[in-house]
Symmetry: C2
Subunit: 221 residues, 2 copies
Amino acid sequence: MSAANDENRKHPMPFTRVELCLLRVGEQGLQVLLGRRAGPVEAGAWALPGGVLRIDLDADLDAAAQRVAKERLGIALPYLRQQAAFGGATRDARGWALSIVYRALAPFDMALHAGKRIEELRWFSADDAAADASLAFDHEALIAGAVADLRFEVEALNLPFEAFPEQFTLTEVQTFCELVLARRLDKSSFRRRLAERGCVAPLAGQFRTGANRPAQLYVPA
Amino acid sequence: MSAANDENRKHPMPFTRVELCLLRVGEQGLQVLLGRRAGPVEAGAWALPGGVLRIDLDADLDAAAQRVAKERLGIALPYLRQQAAFGGATRDARGWALSIVYRALAPFDMALHAGKRIEELRWFSADDAAADASLAFDHEALIAGAVADLRFEVEALNLPFEAFPEQFTLTEVQTFCELVLARRLDKSSFRRRLAERGCVAPLAGQFRTGANRPAQLYVPA
DNA sequence: GTAATAGTGTCTCTTAGACAATATGCT
DNA sequence: AGCATATTGTCTAAGAGACACTATTAC
């Protein structure tokens, strides 16, 4: 046994988990993925999917988050980003609990499979969930933090292209941002800002056709 | 023993610490407080002051950071802010280690007393330390993150008044910001922005006198 | 008066919101 | 042609940097 675990014996270490705050943009706005807990505590309550940190399996925190995504949701999540740490004696009835929260934005059509200890996965309105005191533990606060930080980034036009299709039109980008931010954006100004940042590049001669004027297709740049 | 500690038995939990990234504004710019380690590992190396999370003593992470400040530095640190979490199998030779980093800005004249396991406390240039690979563990990266985030806040004029004297002149505020950001600011523009945000209020009839024109004194607002 | 710092004014450039005008493909 | 959406252009206001000017005290 390592010296670190000797320390563990001298002072008990907190019950440490990784929680995933997976968001997506639905037709009504930002959504967050919650799972109905199978137990052992807060059974039946909706909570962020998460799992125990396994120092025998996980090389670091990022790897732990990826493993938990795979186990609980059946999928690898690129672009998981560390969001915050919550720790305290009273946030979990089982004792002193430490949660490292990871955040990611999912494409709308991502396929998920509820893993062990999750009875059902469902998408909820992110703003409702961020203010829903009936969620398990303090997950309401974790969601609020993740939503605020995502909005801050999108507001600054740091776009999460991993959640986009390979090719997209500028109108689609704008609609995406409007749904994240829950407010309308000016078309002209929005395109000017996109062009200034140089974060998208047109695909020469590629257009999305529909019932009216075709739209130039773009890729991340 | 609580259920959480039953979980600890089933899966070993990481060696969890709180590290303090204490910054201050010196005459040459931003400085960070480092302690020379007394052991057991990395003895003699400079590192952020920190300590083991004690779930029997600390109600939550913030309380843990306060306790560590008291034990290691002999002082209470108001306005400690959670900065980030670093965790991995290889960052501490003793085994899987998780560090929750807290950041605070200290007044320049704060009195400190090196606590147990610290042989000496010393202020270093923050930019040098953020690029100094000879520091213990990965503390170089923790410092870089804290410095970047503090600069971001000061850039947005979210000023850490806790590090200010009770009363101050606008020139003193500007000098403070210039030392944090390591660049010059325009006086007129700086005062305009301060006034717009309404974050300082003049003390009617109170002036700082010196060898030349007296300066209006302000307080946080 | 001179030096030194405090405080203000003006000009301009950049950014972005509001809103209008034009372009293009479909039916 | 008429519709719906794409794309561009113009006007304006806010914010901030550059820089110069004025103000006030000590000596």
